[in-house]
Structures are given as structure tokens and as C-alpha cells.
């Protein structure tokens, strides 16, 4: 298995999957990210990230049934694994800890 380092874009994707819950599939994740972050990830980049996350064991996927709306093609739904959840929490904690260590003064200087 590759390193379990979580990249910045990967973290956003992971979080978005968490937000979308049971409705997390390719296009939905892309649109959700567009709405919330004002950035426009390409669909290829997104799938590439999803595939990496799955390789790292942070998410798992299952195929849904065929739908009318997309030419009868199936969707692949993603949800966060326990490992993914742990990584997210850890990343969040680390960030908070670092954040707390910043003295108030330096903020003023910014």
C-alpha cells in the first residue's frame, strides 16, 4: 500500500463524501465541491482522487442500479471507511493544535 498521507484535494473530497452521505457519487461530489469552495475540479481529477483514496483504504464504494437520467448507466457510490474517518479526525486535530499555538500577536501583524 502507498503512503497514507492525505493530500489537500483528497481531504476536501473525503470531507465532501462525508457531507453527502448516501448520495456521494462522481457528479454529485463535483457539484458539491463547486458550490462550497468556488473551485472547479475537473471530473477526471476527481475520479483520479477517488481512485487514490480507495487505494489508500479511506473510502469504499459500491455500484448502484441503473438510472434513467444518465443514459441508463450505473453510478458508483462512495462512503468513508473507519480508517478514513480516523485520518480525517487526526488531520483536523493536528490543524487545530497548530492553530491554537499561534500567538495572538502574530495575527495582528498579518
Amino acid at each position: 500500500m502507498k503512503g497514507t498521507y492525505l493530500g489537500e484535494f483528497e481531504e476536501i473530497v473525503l470531507l465532501t463524501i462525508g457531507v453527502l452521505q448516501k448520495e456521494a457519487y462522481g457528479v454529485a461530489i463535483k457539484l458539491e465541491i463547486e458550490n462550497r469552495t468556488q473551485r472547479k475540479p475537473s471530473i477526471g481529477a476527481l475520479h483520479s482522487a477517488l481512485s487514490r483514496l480507495e487505494d489508500k483504504g479511506f473510502i469504499e464504494s459500491h455500484e448502484g442500479g441503473a438510472t434513467q437520467s444518465r443514459g441508463g448507466r450505473r453510478k458508483r457510490f462512495y462512503n468513508i471507511t473507519a480508517e478514513g474517518k480516523r485520518t480525517l479526525i487526526k488531520a483536523n486535530q493536528l490543524r487545530n493544535e497548530l492553530f491554537d499555538l499561534i500567538p495572538n500577536l502574530s495575527f495582528k501583524a498579518v
Binding site: 462522481g26 475537473s42 471530473i43 487514490r52 444518465r70
Partner: protein, 881 residues
């Protein structure tokens, strides 16, 4: 989906599905589609299209290619195991069918291996020298009046080699040889008559590569130094070291001692030259007649090789040669020397394959490529056989394919299974083919006079190549069955063996047509080659070759020639004897410049015809007809009043309407001067490959090296013994090597004879394989039609009518094959026939005969299968409906 909905272009989708792993396709394409729908509601259609294309390209990322790791790996190994297992079980279950397949493939591969060995050997000549690619042999071309090459000498004049070396910077160096023939060589009590002794320049080591057993490259610097080969050293000195020992060499009565300064490994078998004695050039230069060694023109006794600078342009060097010749040779009969002769350069590595006029090669590129082609054809026929048989038996495997598909096999799996199966066949055939070729190797070696080896350690290329061939055969033979079997619909496959395969018989029929076309072309080829060889051998060459014995007229015989001849004639079994410079079946090598003083018109004609030195019994021995004038002057000739005989072709070329007009004309020929006294009928002095040349027969003294003796048909061994005794009386040291002129005559066509034998053998094999295939095919089709035929029988059809019906369906195949085979065979064979000046024409009868033979073979094969069904009791096939 409503019609009003706009659709994106289709090609990005196709591109993606080609690129993506199957499991990603639905997901990615679905996302693409959904995004497109989403966008077309928000923006213009063309913009949405653009985004769609951009996204499609964006998805071409490595992850999409990737297979999921989880299940696949182990499964594949298990499946391959299963494929092998099923292949072998199927072979065991259908033994006859598997046997036919394996027999065809292994014979095909065996033939291919042998032919590969042969071709590989032929192509490897003279490549062992380090500078092989830069070495060229100097050849001298004679030009006739029209500027065409009339004669090629592979020995050059002595000054050619040295001038090339000194005056042309692109020539690194050159080496000259000066061979003489049949020296007697002595050491202590051992004495042998050798075929060659050579003087050679020390630059030989810069041109050719040698492996030294003893000595080094300084070996040829001193006078009386001699380099010999390892086997020669063994022959004279046994296991002792040869280095420093002395050999006595006797030539034309003179004896000279040589000290051995080097022993080198023998020339490999794949060499166009093979010299055992190489003495230092300086020895020769000390003794040589200075007139002889300074020639630029004539005196073609020096095999000469140049080594060019790497990358030098040989054509450019050749272009400089006319100027070099003109500078060094005075005008010949008033014309520039370069209009009479030219120098050419023959690449060392091509000498063996391009056996042209007078060259040392015995083989011919044409035949090598031809054998190569036959080898490939035999293999292709075997592959086609496999394809045909395995698809014809498709019904047998249909259920299996169906079940596999139900259990989740995809197209790819089924294809792979059948490829594995054909590979298994190919591998088994490879082993058997190897065995077969090992069995046949001895025969091939004897026949081709080679020592080919199947031992993989001697020939690692063979192992590599043969394995590659097996793989290619496996894929080639398996490709069609694999795609064919994989294409069946699951349900159709499961429903049962009677599935109609529409349109698919077309390809198979095509294969059979192709296979039969090859077979027919081979039959036509064999027939034509056979007829041509028969034609040559029975063609009247214009002289009598029966019961004529030929042997060497040594100088001691020549010194008392008339006495020797009359001694021979005392034996009642000897009809006549004659000495001459050359004999028919040889080549016309020597030519001199001639001048004709046309008395009537006071016109002088210069020309150059080859000549023959004969004595007054020559025409009698060879029974050559005299068409005008007298046979030959019985009085002793002198150089000033020579009587010349010319042949009819010469008379025609010199412009006389009838041979009679030539009689009494005054002529100078080289150093001879005299009158034309007779005209002889044309005869094929050289082989039927070339046209009859104009020639001049001179009753002269010099160069009569060949003794021809016409003997009676009785007690031939006794007569030969007598001849040997007389020969030994004059040459006690020499071996008597008689040969019969009719053997020499046949030997001229040895290459063709060999071609005929080999092509016959391999064609028969190809035909047999093709028959095996047809046998399998017809057998299968009979099995399928057994019910139909039984019903016909019940309704009163006769055996004949059934056989006719069955054969009719194959008649078209044979006709189609015939139509393809005839032009192809005709094209190649006419090409081959043009290598003969005298040849048969490929007539309608010959082609029809071949076509009928092939049809007959097919007919017999088909009937052998059809009769089984047609004569069986109908109940046997109708019972279980």
C-alpha cells in the same frame, strides 16, 4: 429518451470505452452523460459539447486503465491451468482428430526447421572474417562489341591488386593469391598430391581473419615461409608440432623447400575458398618472370581481394577503374582498353550466393530463397489445416463454451482458452517436429553436402527461432478458432450442436481454396522442373558424350603425346584418344584478339572469340560434325600457317551467309596466323544455361591439359585399369582421376537436380498435409450430413449419385484454387526457365495435367470419407431421432 434532447458527439465515448478498463466504463461514461445533461440546461449546446470533449480527454488517466487487483491474479493462473487441462483432455478424447492436427503441424515444423538450418547455413558464408563487410573480390569483365559483359574472370591480373592498394586512399589494403594446381608435397616418407598450393601476400592478415594454432601474423614475411592449416599439419606431422619443420614441394619437376612458420585453424565449411598451403609472396617474386608479374591485362591468375575503408563507396571506386585501365594498358586493336575489359568488385559475403559465370560459388541465392519460401508455405498449410479442423469441429465444443459463458467467462476468456489450446498443439508439434527433423537430418546432410546440426549448443539461434516459430504458429493457427468460438451467443451455444453458422463458412472455404492453390502450384512446379531437367538431359548437345573418359594430360604425357596416344590405341577397347585445352561440359575460358583479312572486300575485321586447342583426333572422339571444308590438317602445324576451324555460330557472326564462304579466309589469331580450313557444326560446349558461343578450334601445341579417350562398351573396368597403368607409366607420383564425360555433363545441372529433388520431397509433404486437412474436413462434414445422406439412400439414391453430390460441393473449391494457382506458378516458373538458354515452354497440357493430378488427389481423399457414410446402413444414422 425524447428525440428533442440534444446528444453529445459519439466518438469521445468510443475512445473512452476503448481506453478504460471494463469496470470503470459505466461509471465514467455515466458521469460524463450526467454532466452533459446538467450543462446543456445551463449553456449553449456547442459549449456543452466542448466541455463534454474536454472531460472525456480529462478522464484518460492511469487510474482508468488499472484493473482491480482484488480477484484477478490468482484466478488467471487457475484458469490457464484449466485451459491446459481441458486441451489435453480434448486431445485424448478425440484421438484421431488430434492426431491429424499434430501430425500436420509437426511435419510442417520439422520441414521448416530443416529448411531454416539450410538457409541459415547458406547465408552465413564468409561472415566469420572480422572485416567481412568491407572486403570485396576483384573480378575482371570482358566486354563484347556491344559493350555487354561477355565473360567474367574471378582471378585478376597481378598489377590490379597492387595498384588498387597504392593509388586509391579508400582501399585500406589488398591481398593477392597465386595458386597452382596439383603440386606434390613431401615430408619424410609421406607424400601427397594436393589440389592447391598458394603464394600469398602478408597483407592477407589485414584482409582475412585467422586463428593461429602456432605462429603469428609475421609468418609470411620471409622467403620460403609457409603457413598451413591445422588438418594439413595433422596429415603430415601427426601429433607433432609442425612449427619450424620443412616440407618439400614439387611442381612441374622443380622442387623447393618451405619452412613452416604458422599453423592456422582450417577455413570453416562456410567459406567460398579453402586453401591449405599459403606460402610467402616474396618467394614467388624472387623467381617470377618479371614480364608476367607486371601485367594489367590478361594473365588472370591472381585471386585478388581488397579491404575498403569502412563506409567507403565501392561504386565510386568502380567508376575510377576505366581511367586506371586506360592509363596502364595500351590501346587494344585501336580501341581504348576500358572498352574491352572492366574491373568490378564483388562483396565477399555475396560470393557464395551469387554463383555466376566462372565464380567459385556452388549455390545460388535464387534457390536459397526458393527453399525458404517452400518452408514457409509448408508451415502455412499446416496452420490452415489446424484452423480448418478446429473450427469445423466447433459443434463439439459449443456446449462447453456456453457453460463457460454462463459461469461468467467473457469473450476474452474464451479466446484465451482456444489460444492456449492451439499453443499446446504447437508445443507438442514442436517437440515431435524436432524429433522428425533429427531423423531426417542425416539424409539432408548427405544430400546437401553440408554438416548441419540440430544441436542447440552449436546453434543457439535455432533454439530461439524455433521457439518463436512455435509461438507464432500457435497464435496464427489459434487466432481464427479463438475469435470464432468466442463470438457465439451464450443461449445459441447452449441450445445445441445444430447452430447454423451463417457466413462463417466463407472464411473457411477461403482457407481451403488457398491451401489447395498452394498444393496445385507446387504440383505444377514439380512437373515443370522435372520436365525441364529431362529436356536438358536428353537434348542433343551436338557432340557424343557416351563412353568418353577424361583425365589430366600431364606435361610428361604432352611431351610425347603421339606416342602416348598410339600406346593407348593398342588396346582394342580404346577407339580413339585426343588431347585438348578444354573439353565440352567445361567452360570456354581463353580468348585471344583476332583479325580477319577479308580477301574479297579488302576489309579488316577485329574480333575476339574464345578458342580451343585441339589435336587432329578431337572431332572424332566427340563425334562433332564438319559442315564445310576439312576436319583438320593432318600435317604438323606451324605457327605461321595455322589451319583454323570455326563453328557455325562464328561463321554467322563474322558475316558469311554460308559456312562454305568461310573456307580459305586468312586470319590472325593471337600469335597464330593462317587460314580457315573448316567449319564445324554447332555444339553445346557449355551447359544449356548459355547460348552456343562462337569459337575457334586450333590444332596447336600448348595448353593441352585434358585427355579424352573414347572407349568401347566392353570391359570398362579393364579398360580403365589399362588407362591407369599407362598414366602411371608417365606420372609415377600422380593419382589417376578419370571421369566420364557424361557424368560431367550431368554435373552441370547438379543445382537443378538438387532443386528438383528437394522441391519434390517438400511438395509431397505439403500435399500430404493438405490431404490430411481435407480428410478431416470432409470427414466432419460427412458426419453432419449423415442423416441427409441416409434419407437420400432410403429414398433410392445410388452410391454413385451420393459420391457425385458430395464431390460437386468441393469442385468449386478446386476450380477456384486452380484459377489462383496457375498464374502464380506460371509467373515464377517462367522466371526460372529463363535461366536456361534452352528450355521447354509451359503448355496448356502441362497445366491441365497438374490440375487433373491435384483434382484426382482431392477426389480420392473425399471419396475415401464419403464412401464410409454412403455405404453404411441408413438405420445406423436414422435410428436416434
Amino acid at each position: 429518451m425524447s428525440g428533442s434532447r440534444s446528444n453529445p458527439p459519439r466518438w469521445p465515448e468510443r475512445m473512452l470505452s476503448w481506453f478504460c478498463a471494463e469496470e470503470h466504463q459505466d461509471i465514467l461514461l455515466g458521469d460524463l452523460e450526467e454532466l452533459y445533461e446538467y450543462r446543456s440546461s445551463k449553456m449553449s449546446r456547442s459549449k456543452a459539447n466542448l466541455f463534454y470533449i474536454k472531460d472525456a480527454f480529462d478522464m484518460l488517466r492511469p487510474f482508468a486503465l488499472k484493473k482491480r487487483r482484488t480477484q484477478v491474479k490468482n484466478n488467471h493462473i487457475a484458469m490457464y491451468k484449466n485451459y491446459f487441462k481441458i486441451s489435453f483432455r480434448n486431445m485424448l478424447r478425440h484421438k484421431a482428430y488430434a492426431g491429424i492436427n499434430i501430425a500436420g503441424l509437426s511435419v510442417g515444423m520439422g520441414c521448416f526447421m530443416l529448411i531454416f538450418l539450410y538457409v541459415q547455413d547458406e547465408l552465413s558464408y564468409d561472415r566469420h572474417h572480422e572485416h567481412a563487410d568491407d572486403v570485396y573480390r576483384v573480378v575482371v569483365n570482358d566486354y563484347n562489341g556491344n559493350g555487354e559483359v561477355s565473360r567474367v574472370f574471378t582471378y585478376a591480373s597481378p598489377m590490379h591488386g597492387s595498384t588498387l592498394r597504392s593509388d586509391y586512399p579508400q582501399v585500406i589494403t589488398s591481398v593477392r593469391f597465386n595458386p597452382w594446381y596439383f603440386p606434390i608435397i613431401k615430408y619424410a616418407d609421406k607424400q601427397f598430391e594436393e589440389s592447391y598450393f598458394n603464394y600469398v601476400e602478408p597483407t592477407i592478415f589485414d584482409v582475412f581473419s585467422f586463428e593461429f594454432v602456432e605462429g603469428n601474423t609475421d609468418a609470411l614475411n620471409e622467403p620460403n615461409a609457409l603457413m598451413i592449416t591445422e588438418s594439413t599439419a595433422k596429415k603430415y606431422f601427426g601429433d607433432e608440432s609442425a612449427f619450424g619443420k620443412t616440407l618439400e614441394v614439387v611442381n612441374r619437376g622443380e622442387s623447393k623447400d618451405f619452412k613452416i612458420t604458422a599453423v592456422v585453424k582450417d577455413f570453416p565449411e562456410q567459406s567460398h575458398m579453402s586453401y591449405d598451403f599459403m606460402a610467402s609472396w616474396i618467394t614467388y617474386e624472387i623467381d617470377a618472370d618479371p614480364r608476367g608479374i607486371n601485367d594489367y591485362y590478361g594473365n588472370y591468375n591472381y585471386p585478388t581481394y581488397v579491404r575498403m575503408a569502412p563506409g567507403a563507396d565501392i561504386a565510386q571506386l568502380k567508376a575510377q577503374m576505366p581511367a586506371m585501365l586506360d592509363k596502364n594498358i595500351p590501346d587494344i586493336q585501336g580501341a581504348k582498353a576500358s572498352t574491352r575489359i572492366g574491373l568490378d568488385f564483388q562483396k565477399l559475403t555475396q560470393i557464395h550466393l551469387n554463383a555466376s559465370a566462372g565464380s567459385g560459388g556452388t549455390s545460388n541465392a535464387y534457390y536459397v530463397y526458393l527453399f525458404g519460401a517452400i518452408g514457409v508455405l509448408v508451415l502455412v498449410i499446416a496452420c490452415i489445416n489446424y484452423m480448418n479442423l478446429s473450427t469445423a469441429k466447433y459443434a463439439m465444443r459449443l456446449k462447453e463454451v456456453g457453460v463457460r459463458k454462463v459461469l461468467g467467462a467473457r469473450k476474452g476468456n474464451i479466446s484465451r482458452q482456444f489460444l492456449v489450446e492451439s499453443m499446446s498443439y504447437a508445443l507438442i508439434a514442436l517437440l515431435l517436429g524436432y524429433g522428425l527433423s533429427a531423423l531426417a537430418l542425416g539424409w539432408v546432410n548427405r544430400f546437401a553436402e553440408k554438416s548441419l546440426s540440430l544441436n542447440p549448443t552449436d546453434n543457439p539461434m535455432l533454439l530461439l527461432f524455433v521457439t518463436l516459430v512455435a509461438l507464432v504458429v500457435g497464435v496464427l493457427a489459434g487466432s481464427y478458432p479463438a475469435t470464432f468460438m468466442a463470438r457465439f451467443q451464450t443461449v445459441a451455444a447452449l441450445k445445441g450442436g445444430r447452430t447454423k453458422v451463417k457466413g462463417r463458412a466463407g472464411f473457411r472455404t477461403g482457407l481451403v481454396v488457398f491451401q489447395f492453390a498452394i498444393t496445385m502450384a507446387l504440383i505444377i512446379g514439380v512437373t515443370v522442373v522435372d520436365r525441364q531437367i529431362h529436356f536438358i538431359r536428353t537434348q542433343d548437345p551436338g557432340f557424343d558424350r557416351e563412353l568418353v573418359v577424361n583425365f589430366w594430360a600431364s606435361p610428361s604425357i604432352n611431351n610425347s603425346l603421339e606416342v602416348f596416344k598410339s600406346e593407348l590405341r593398342t588396346n582394342p577397347n580404346i577407339v580413339q584418344a585426343s588431347a585438348s585445352s578444354r573439353i565440352p561440359t567445361g567452360r570456354l575460358g581463353d580468348a585471344l584478339d583476332a583479325t580477319l583479312f577479308n580477301e574479297g572486300s579488302k576489309e579488316v575485321i577485329d574480333f575476339r572469340f574464345p578458342f580451343l586447342v585441339i589435336d587432329n583426333n578431337y572431332l572424332e572422339v566427340y563425334d562433332i560434325a564438319v559442315v564445310a571444308g576439312e576436319a583438320i590438317d593432318q600435317s604438323a602445324p606451324s605457327d605461321s600457317t595455322q589451319s583454323f576451324l570455326i563453328n557455325e555460330t562464328a561463321a554467322k557472326l563474322l558475316g558469311w551467309a554460308s559456312p562454305e564462304e568461310a573456307i580459305g579466309q586468312k586470319m590472325d589469331y593471337g600469335w597464330y596466323s593462317g587460314f580457315i580450313t573448316g567449319v564445324v557444326g554447332d555444339f553445346n560446349f557449355e551447359s544449356l544455361h548459355s547460348a552456343i558461343q562462337p569459337m575457334i578450334l586450333i590444332n596447336g601445341q600448348q595448353n593441352k591439359r585434358s585427355m579424352s579417350v573414347k572407349i568401347a562398351g566392353e570391359d570398362i573396368p579393364g579398360t580403365l585399369k589399362f588407362l591407369e597403368a599407362r598414366f602411371k607409366a608417365y606420372n609415377p607420383d600422380r593419382t589417376f582421376n578419370p571421369s566420364f564425360v557424361d557424368d560431367l555433363f550431368n554435373a552441370q545441372y547438379e543445382g537443378e537436380q538438387r532443386l528438383s529433388e528437394i522441391s519434390k520431397t517438400f511438395s509431397i509433404i505439403a500435399i500430404l498435409i493438405a490431404c490430411l486437412g481435407l480428410l478431416g474436413l470432409v470427414g466432419f462434414s460427412m458426419e453432419q450430413r449423415s442423416k441427409e445422406i441416409s434419407v437420400r439412400k432410403v429414398l433410392g439414391a445410388t452410391l454413385a449419385s451420393i459420391l457425385l453430390m458430395v464431390n460437386r460441393s468441393y469442385a468449386l473449391i478446386i476450380l477456384g484454387a486452380f484459377v489462383i494457382a496457375v498464374p502464380v506458378a506460371y509467373y515464377f516458373l517462367s522466371d526460372w526457365l529463363t535461366t536456361f538458354e534452352y528450355h521447354i515452354s509451359i503448355g496448356v497440357g502441362l497445366i491441365l495435367f497438374s490440375g487433373l493430378t491435384a483434382s484426382l488427389i482431392a477426389f480420392v481423399t473425399i471419396c475415401s470419407q464419403a464412401i464410409k457414410v454412403a455405404t453404411a446402413n441408413p438405420v445406423k444414422f436414422l435410428r436416434n431421432e
